[in-house]
């Protein structure tokens, strides 16, 4: 088991306000790694910094090393052209608002085809068949209906499944899920997480799972890091942290979960 992503002393922020003050962690191949923190802690900025999707006025320093077939690439030093080869193909994203990440003017099928044609060099007909197959693999019994729908015609949970299908279309090594379920109902949340987990076990990619809800992490990932005030204050096996939290903040987070 090698490392796939290594974040070393990453600092970033805006001229007036530093957001991350030295964050380091490693993600192994085929592992689910969770990052937990409140809103405003810079979780999303951290995810975006990997492929330089940051706002223009943000500064950053440190290293983000991505290991691609044993070759070490520092993502923060890459140019636009090189980044485009990694972003969306090797590293895929799933964002919180799935309906907002889909183009409202285009049919869903067209948007999945686009990924395949652009990144995987499919031609039109095979792309269509592959898209239907992908939609089927994320649990749609009638993929044709979704393929022909516009984003506003499907529900939030369905849209999130479409996003998973789209992210998987390019067969990524690392999937970054930035609060993929926090806009959804509890029953649907669990369906999405279960689907993600099943796909991860089947295809063996790594997941960086970013959330503010500790209760979701417990059964979903083995490793956990807690981000607070720009630093990682606790990192380790999920079980250990749940059983024996070391810091006051972690205890507070655990106490805010409403349990049945």
């Amino acid at each position: 088991m090698g490392v796939i992503l290594e974040v070393k002393d990453l600092r970033l922020g805006f001229s007036k306000k530093p957001v991350l003050e030295g964050v380091s962690f490693n993600i192994n191949k085929g592992e689910v790694f969770s990052l937990v923190g409140e809103s405003g802690e810079g979780k999303t900025l951290l995810c975006l910094s990997f492929t330089k999707l940051l706002p223009k006025d943000a500064y950053y320093s440190g290293e983000v090393n991505f290991y691609l077939s044993d070759k070490k690439i520092n993502l923060l030093n890459l140019s636009g052209e090189e980044l485009r080869k990694i972003r969306g193909t090797k590293i895929s994203y799933i964002f919180q608002e799935s309906l907002a990440s889909l183009n409202p003017f285009l049919r869903i099928g067209y948007q999945i085809d686009e990924v395949l044609i652009y990144h995987k060099k499919f031609s039109k007909k095979p792309a269509y068949l592959k898209s239907l197959e992908l939609l089927k693999s994320v649990g749609f019994k009638n993929p044709q209906r979704i393929y022909l729908s516009f984003p506003h015609q499907i529900s939030g949970g369905e849209a999130q499944r479409v996003m998973i299908a789209m992210a998987l279309a390019s067969e990524p090594c690392l999937l970054i899920c930035d609060e993929p379920t926090s806009n959804l109902d509890l029953t649907v949340q669990l369906q999405i997480l279960k689907l993600l987990k099943a796909k991860q076990e089947e295809l063996g990619f790594s997941i960086l799972f970013v959330t503010h809800d500790l209760s979701l992490v417990e059964k979903f990932s083995k490793k956990l890091a807690i981000l607070h005030r720009g630093r990682i204050i606790e990192e380790g096996e999920t079980e250990n942290i749940f059983r024996n939290p070391q810091t006051e903040y972690t205890r507070q987070l655990l106490n805010s979960v409403f349990k049945l």
């Binding site: 529900s155 509890l186 029953t187 649907v188 669990l190 500790l214 209760s215 987070l253 409403f258």
Partner: protein, 296 residues
């Protein structure tokens, strides 16, 4: 239960008309929902999105009229500002161009109450907001602070019933826990009644005493919260409880749009032949449950 009731709903239905091009659809948001809000109890309404929870909340405050059914309020509830509603997204419920001090003063003014500084300070301390925020605009506040302002605005008119429609689902777990604790404290000091609407059963078990489980506009189970959560009878309540326990053994489901028979039959694991007919509410162990499993 020997005490009186505050609000009683009798077979409330609401149908929305939807036009798409030349076609007209009818959507049944609520289908004969009956309930009772006893005095000094917290009623919880659980259900997933699209089940008609928010429609019910809006009907209760009179924002929309039910198509059928009766609502009976206890006498003084019909006075101005006695029932207040708090929405899910605090940013949309505040005027973006009005400073929050003025937003509060406006409520006090229209209620004919004093809008002196002392009164404002009292309301601010009630929701645990620092008084220095009074000159901010809603866009300069965090989501949690904004929701507290929305609660403060609702409390300003001294309501006796507060309806909370998913008040914390847009917020972080830590912030939402603080707000819920704050709400419980307010209830004790001001002797208020809450109707709490949410899809999170963990949250509802923390705050509510009675529970109404709604699915597709129909009540499927009704009883006291600890009872329902300890031993859910209806298959849908069972599904909700297991998802609140983060049980990862649930299956994937497609949405279904059939209206005939039991509304839950396409997702139900105990599906029988009799489910083609609509089940009435059966009484079982002090609870009401709409499922053929509990026929006798």
């Amino acid at each position: 239960m020997s005490k009186g009731f505050l609000i009683k709903g009798e077979a409330i239905s609401k149908t929305f008309k939807l036009k798409r091009g030349w076609q007209t659809f009818f959507i049944k948001a609520l289908n004969k929902v009956s309930f009772l809000l006893p005095e000094e109890r917290i009623l919880g309404i659980a259900g997933e999105s699209g089940s008609g929870k928010s429609t019910l909340a809006k009907i209760l405050v009179g924002l929309i009229k039910p198509s059928e059914g009766n609502l009976i309020y206890q006498g003084n509830l019909l006075e101005k500002g006695k029932i207040q509603l708090i929405f899910q997204n605090p940013y949309t419920s505040l005027n973006p161009k009005m400073r929050i001090g003025r937003a509060l003063k406006e409520v006090l003014y229209y209620q004919g109450l004093s809008s002196q500084k002392g009164e404002l300070e009292r309301i601010f301390s009630l929701v645990e907001l620092p008084f220095s925020l009074i000159d901010r605009l809603p866009s300069q506040l965090s989501g949690g602070q904004c929701q507290r302002v929305a609660i403060a605005r609702a409390l300003a008119s001294c309501p006796s019933v507060l309806i909370l429609d998913e008040p914390t689902s847009n917020l972080d777990v830590v912030v939402s826990k603080k707000i819920i604790d704050n709400l419980l404290k307010i209830k004790q000091t001001l002797k208020m009644n809450y109707i709490f609407i949410s899809h999170d059963l963990g949250l509802l078990s923390y705050i509510t005493e009675d529970l109404l489980v709604i699915y597709k506009g129909k009540v499927v189970e009704e009883g006291s919260t600890p009872d329902v959560l300890k031993k859910p009878l209806h298959p849908y309540s069972q599904l909700l409880v297991s998802s609140a326990k983060r049980d990862f053994s649930l299956g994937l489901e497609e949405e279904d749009f059939s209206d005939e028979g039991c509304i839950f039959k396409n997702r139900c694991i105990f599906k029988m032949n009799i489910c083609q007919n609509q089940p009435p509410l059966f009484l079982k162990e002090d609870r009401k449950v709409a499922c053929w499993l509990y026929q006798n």
